[in-house]
C-alpha cells in the first residue's frame, strides 16, 4: 500500500466513514457490506468500484482494513472527480474533493425531512447543498445529515443507537414497497447492515438528532468547500440507479467479499431479489445459498448436521426461538439434518425474517424441498420426505415410518416388474444358473434318451428357478429385513437372468408345446394337491430314475440337478451351442461350477436341519449363505422361506430349512419323496409354506429329472430339436407355475408386511 497522505479534512472524514462502516467495532476491519454500500452510494459505475477495490488491496486481503478503506475512499474521490483511477493518483492528485456518496432516494430524504422536522435546518439543508454555518449544533447535525455519507459524528456508539431508531419508516407492506422500504427497516435494525445509501441517511439523521457529542468533531470541518465536498442531494432518481446497481453490485460483492458476514450478504442479496412471491428464491439467492451450503458440506447431496446448521444460523443473530421455528419449518423430513433444499429454505427464511417478514406458520410452497422421485431411490432419503409431507405423524414410530413406506413403495414397483416379466416373459428370471446348465446339457445331450417328461421338466426347473428368483428378488427389494445374502444372490444374477428369459422367451415363441408326449400336468398351487403334483413328478422321476446319474439327483428339490464336477466343463463346452440364449447365463455358470463341489455340503444340511429346527432364523441365514452358493436351485425355496421367516414365526423358517435340507439329504432317492415327506409334516402347520413347497417340490422333481437325461454330445439335429421342443413345453409349464407362485408370493409378502406393521405397533418404543 502506498503511503497515503491525507489532508486533515480527509483524515477526519475518512475516519468517520471508517467508524461508520466498522459496525462491529473492531477498529481494524470494516464490514464489507457496509463498505460496498458506501461505494454504491458513491454512484460510481460498478467496474469502477471493482477497480477501486482491487487497487486498494481489499480484494487481495479479503477485507477492508483501515488503510485499504482510506485508499478506497481516496480512489472514490478520484473517480468522482473524473480522474483516471491509478494507484499513483492517490497521492498525485492534489486538492481532491472528498468522495461523495449520494442518498439513495428521495423518499428516504423526504422521510428524513419529515422525521427530523425538529431539525428544520436539516430540511432546509436537504434542499441546499451548502451546509448551514458551523457552530450550530443542530445545523451541524443537519448538515452532516445531508453530508456525503453522513460521516459518523463520533463514536461508534451512535451507530448502534441510530439503527434502532426508525420509527418514521413504515414497515414494508408489499413486496414492491418492500424493496424500497427495505433500507429503512434495515436502518432501524442494528443487526442489519444498511442495504443501500438510503439507510445511510436514516441512521445518520437519527444519529445526528440523537447525538450531542461529536459536534465538536464537525466544527473542524463544517466549513467545507461547499460545492465539492458535500452531497448533492440527488433529486434525480438515484434510487433507480442504485437499485439497478444493486443486482450488478451484488455480483461484485460476491467477488470482493470473502470475510463478509452472512447477514450482510443476506441483505445485499435480499435487495436484488424479486418479491413477486415473497418466498420465491431467485437464482442469485439460490446460488448464494448453494455456495454457503458448500462451505459447510461440500457434497451437495449430503446433509448438514443439526449442530453445524445451528452454528451457522446463529450467526444471523436472530433470536433462538425464531431460529428454532425456522428449523421446524425447513427440516422437512424431521431428521435433524438439512439437505440442500432444506438449507436453502432455511436460509431464505432467515433472510426474510431479518428483513422484517414474519415467519409463516407453514412452509411456503416455493420453499418446500422437492420430493425425490420414488423410482430414484427406495432409501430413507425420499421416504421420510413423503412421510413428513403427509403431515400427521404415522402410527409407527418415526424411525420406522421411513422403512414402511419404502416397503410399500418398492413393493408395487417390483410387483409390476415381476408381473411384467411374468406377462411378457412367461419364463421367469432364473436364479440358479445351474438350471441353465442343465438345459444346456440337456440340449447337448438331446438324443434318443430324451423323453417327454424330461424336456418339459428341463424347461420347468429353469422357469421355476427363475420365478423363484424373481420372487426372492422381489422380496429382497421390498423387504429390508430379508437376509442380505439372498438379496445379493438374487440381485447379482437378476439382470442376467432376465436377459436369458427374454431370449428364452423368444426362442419359445414358435414352438408347439405338444410335440412330444404331454408333459405331466403343471403343479397346481393347491395345498391339498401337493402330494399329487409331486406324485406326478415322482412318476416322472421313476421313469428316468434309471437314467439319473448318481450324483446329479442329489439336489434339494428346488435346485436343478447339478452336473457332477466331472460334467462341469460340459456346460461350458456346450454353451455356445445353446440356441435358447442360455449363453447369457454363462457368466453366472462359471460361478456355479466351482461351487458345485460344495454339493457335498448337503451333509451340512442334515446337521443344520437337525440342529436348527427350532432355532432362530438368523442361524439359518448364516448357514444358508454357505450352502446357497452351492445350492442355487434351493435359493428360491430358501429365500421364500427366509423371507417369510422374517415375518412369520420361526417355526416356519425352521420348517423351511429342514425342508430344503431334507431335500438335500436324500441324494440318491427320488427327489420328490423327501419333499413329500417334508410336505406332509409341514402341511398341518403351514399351508402357505406348503404351497411353495409344492412348487419347489415340483420344481425339484423337474430339475431332478434333468440329470437323468443322458448327455451325449453330437446328437442328431432332430433329437436336439425335439429336446428343444420339450424344453419349451417345460418352460411353459414352469412359466405357469411361476406366475402362480408369484401370486402366492405377493399375497404372502403382503401378509408379512401387515404383520410387521402390527408388530411394530405393538412393540413398545424402545427408542425415542
Amino acid at each position: 500500500m502506498e503511503g497515503l497522505t491525507l489532508s486533515d479534512a480527509e483524515q477526519k472524514y475518512y475516519s468517520d466513514l471508517f467508524s461508520y462502516c466498522d459496525i462491529e467495532s473492531t477498529k481494524k476491519v470494516v464490514v464489507n457490506g457496509r463498505v460496498l454500500e458506501l461505494f454504491r452510494a458513491a454512484q460510481l459505475p460498478n467496474d469502477v468500484v471493482l477497480q477501486i477495490m482491487e487497487l486498494c488491496g481489499a480484494t487481495r486481503l479479503g477485507y477492508f482494513g483501515r488503510s485499504q478503506f482510506y485508499i478506497a475512499l481516496k480512489l472514490v474521490a478520484v473517480a468522482q472527480s473524473g480522474f483516471p483511477l491509478r494507484v499513483e493518483s492517490i497521492n498525485t492528485v492534489k486538492d481532491l474533493p472528498l468522495p461523495r456518496f449520494v442518498a439513495s432516494k428521495n423518499e428516504q430524504e423526504s422521510r428524513h425531512a419529515a422525521s427530523y422536522s425538529s431539525d428544520s435546518e436539516n430540511q432546509g439543508s436537504y434542499s441546499g447543498v451548502i451546509p448551514p454555518p458551523p457552530g450550530r449544533g443542530q445545523v451541524k447535525k443537519g448538515s452532516v445529515s445531508h453530508d456525503t455519507v453522513q460521516p459518523r459524528t463520533s463514536a461508534d456508539a451512535q451507530e448502534p443507537a441510530s439503527p434502532v431508531v426508525s420509527p418514521q419508516q413504515s414497515p414494508p407492506t408489499s413486496p414492491h414497497t418492500w424493496r424500497k422500504h427495505s433500507r429503512h427497516p434495515s436502518g432501524g435494525n442494528s443487526e442489519r447492515p444498511l442495504a443501500g445509501p438510503g439507510p445511510f441517511w436514516s441512521p445518520f439523521g437519527e444519529a445526528q438528532s440523537g447525538s450531542s457529542a461529536g459536534d465538536a468533531v464537525w466544527s473542524g470541518h463544517s466549513p467545507p468547500p461547499p460545492q465539492e465536498n458535500w452531497v448533492s442531494f440527488a433529486d434525480t432518481p438515484p434510487t433507480s440507479t442504485l437499485l439497478t446497481m444493486h443486482p450488478a453490485s451484488v455480483q461484485d460483492q460476491t467477488t470482493v467479499r470473502t470475510v463478509a458476514s452472512a447477514t450482510t450478504a443476506i441483505e445485499i442479496r435480499r435487495q436484488s431479489s424479486s418479491y413477486d412471491d415473497p418466498w420465491k428464491i431467485t437464482d442469485e439467492q439460490r446460488q448464494y445459498y448453494v455456495n454457503q451450503f458448500k462451505t459447510i458440506q461440500p457434497d451437495l447431496n449430503g446433509f448438514i448436521p443439526g449442530s453445524a446448521a445451528k452454528e451457522f444460523f446463529t450467526k444471523s443473530k436472530l433470536p433462538i426461538l425464531e431460529l428454532s421455528h425456522i428449523w421446524e419449518l425447513s427440516d422437512f423430513d424431521k431428521d435433524g439434518a438439512l439437505t440442500l433444499d432444506e438449507f436453502c429454505a432455511a436460509f431464505h427464511l432467515v433472510v426474510a425474517r431479518k428483513n422484517g417478514y414474519d415467519l409463516p406458520e407453514k412452509l411456503p410452497e416455493s420453499l418446500m424441498p422437492k420430493l425425490i422421485d420414488l423410482e430414484d431411490s427406495a432409501d430413507v432419503g425420499d421416504q421420510p420426505g413423503e412421510v413428513g409431507y403427509s403431515g400427521s405423524p404415522a402410527e409407527a414410530p418415526p424411525s420406522k415410518s421411513p422403512s414402511m413406506p419404502s416397503l410399500n413403495q418398492t413393493w408395487p414397483e417390483l410387483n409390476q416388474s415381476s408381473e411384467d416379466t411374468a406377462i411378457v416373459h412367461p419364463v421367469p428370471i432364473r436364479m440358479t444358473p445351474s438350471k441353465i446348465h442343465m438345459q444346456e446339457m440337456e440340449l447337448k445331450r438331446t438324443g434318443s434318451d430324451h423323453t417327454n417328461p424330461t424336456s418339459p421338466l428341463l424347461v420347468k426347473p429353469s422357469d421355476l428357478s427363475e420365478e423363484n428368483k424373481i420372487n426372492s428378488s422381489v422380496k429382497f427389494a421390498s423387504g429390508n429385513t430379508v437376509d442380505g445374502y439372498s438379496s445379493s444372490d438374487s440381485f447379482t444374477s437378476d439382470p442376467e437372468q432376465i436377459g436369458s428369459n427374454v431370449t428364452r422367451q423368444r426362442s419359445h415363441s414358435g414352438t408347439s408345446p405338444d410335440n412330444t408326449a404331454p408333459p405331466p400336468p403343471p403343479p397346481r398351487p393347491q395345498p391339498s394337491h401337493s402330494r399329487s403334483s409331486s406324485l406326478d413328478m415322482n412318476r416322472t422321476f421313476t421313469v428316468t430314475t434309471g437314467q439319473q446319474q448318481a450324483g446329479v439327483v442329489a439336489h434339494p428339490p428346488a435346485v436343478p440337478p447339478r452336473p457332477q464336477p466331472s460334467q462341469a466343463p460340459g456346460p461350458a463346452v456346450h454353451r455356445p451351442v445353446d440356441a435358447d440364449g442360455l449363453i447369457t447365463h454363462t457368466s453366472t455358470s462359471p460361478q456355479q461350477i466351482p461351487e458345485q463341489p460344495n454339493f457335498a455340503d448337503f451333509s451340512q444340511f442334515e446337521v443344520f436341519a437337525a440342529s436348527n429346527v427350532n432355532e432362530e432364523q438368523d442361524d439359518e441365514a448364516e448357514k444358508h449363505p454357505e450352502v446357497l452358493p452351492a445350492e442355487k436351485a434351493s435359493d428360491p425355496a430358501n429365500s421364500l422361506r427366509v423371507a417369510k421367516a422374517d415375518s412369520k414365526t420361526e417355526e416356519k423358517t425352521a420348517a423351511g430349512a429342514p425342508t430344503n435340507v431334507s431335500k438335500g439329504t436324500a441324494p440318491l432317492a427320488p427327489p420328490p419323496k423327501p419333499v413329500r415327506r417334508r410336505l406332509k409334516s409341514e402341511d398341518e402347520l403351514r399351508p402357505e409354506v406348503d404351497e411353495h413347497t409344492q412348487k419347489t417340490g415340483v420344481l425339484a422333481a423337474v430339475l431332478a429329472s434333468q440329470p437323468s437325461i443322458p448327455r451325449s454330445v453330437g446328437k442328431d439335429k432332430k433329437a436336439i430339436q425335439a429336446s428343444i421342443r420339450r424344453n419349451k413345453e417345460t418352460n411353459t409349464v414352469l412359466a405357469r407355475l411361476n406366475s402362480e407362485l408369484q401370486q402366492q408370493l405377493k399375497d404372502v409378502l403382503e401378509e408379512r408386511i401387515s404383520l410387521e406393521v402390527q408388530l411394530e405397533q405393538l412393540r413398545p418404543f424402545s427408542h425415542l
Binding site: 443439526g306 449442530s307 446448521a309 445451528k310 444460523f313 433462538i320 426461538l321 431460529l323 428454532s324 421455528h325 428449523w327 421446524e328 427440516d331 424431521k334 431428521d335 435433524g336 406458520e361 400427521s392 405423524p393 404415522a394 402410527e395 414410530p397 418415526p398 413398545p764 418404543f765 424402545s766 427408542h767 425415542l768
Partner: protein
C-alpha cells in the same frame, strides 16, 4: 378430548403444560402434579423388567369424579400426562394411546431441532398446534 396436556421432564419439572381455557387451569396443574407420584410408582413397579419391555403407555393413572388422568413415559423418563374429561365415555383406550403416540412423535420432532436445548420449555409452534388439535378435538 384432553382438557389438559402436560410434558414433564425427567426431573419432574414441566416442560410444557397446556389446559383448555374453560376451566381454572390451576386445578389441572395440581392434578398433573399429583399424578406424577402415580407415574413414578408405576415406573418403579415395572422397573424390574427389562427396559425394552417396559410399556410406554401407563394407562389410567387415577380417576376422579370429573376427570381421568392418563400417563405415558418415554425411555428417557420424560412423562406425558393427559387429563381427560370423564364425560367423554366414548374415549377408548386406543384413542388415548394414539394421542400419546402423536405427542411422542411431536416431542421427538422438537428434540430433533438443534436449536432446542433439552430441558428448556417447549416453545415450538408445531408442537403447540398439535396439542391444540388434540384439545380441540374434544370440544
Amino acid at each position: 378430548m384432553a382438557v389438559c396436556i402436560a410434558v414433564i421432564a425427567k426431573e419432574n419439572y414441566p416442560l410444557y403444560i397446556r389446559s383448555a381455557p374453560t376451566e381454572n387451569e390451576l386445578k389441572f396443574h395440581h392434578m398433573v402434579h399429583t399424578s406424577l407420584d402415580v407415574v413414578d410408582e408405576k415406573i418403579s413397579a415395572m422397573g424390574k423388567a427389562l427396559l425394552d419391555q417396559r410399556e410406554l403407555y401407563l394407562g389410567l393413572l387415577y380417576p376422579t369424579e370429573d376427570y381421568k388422568v392418563y400417563g405415558y413415559v418415554t425411555n428417557s423418563k420424560v412423562k406425558f400426562v393427559m387429563v381427560v374429561d370423564s364425560s367423554n365415555t366414548a374415549l377408548r383406550d386406543n384413542e388415548i394411546r394414539s394421542m400419546f403416540r402423536k405427542l411422542h412423535n411431536s416431542y421427538t420432532d422438537v428434540m430433533c431441532n438443534p436449536f432446542y436445548n433439552p430441558g428448556d420449555r417447549i416453545q415450538s409452534r408445531a408442537f403447540d398446534n398439535m396439542v391444540t388439535s388434540m384439545m380441540i378435538q374434544v370440544c
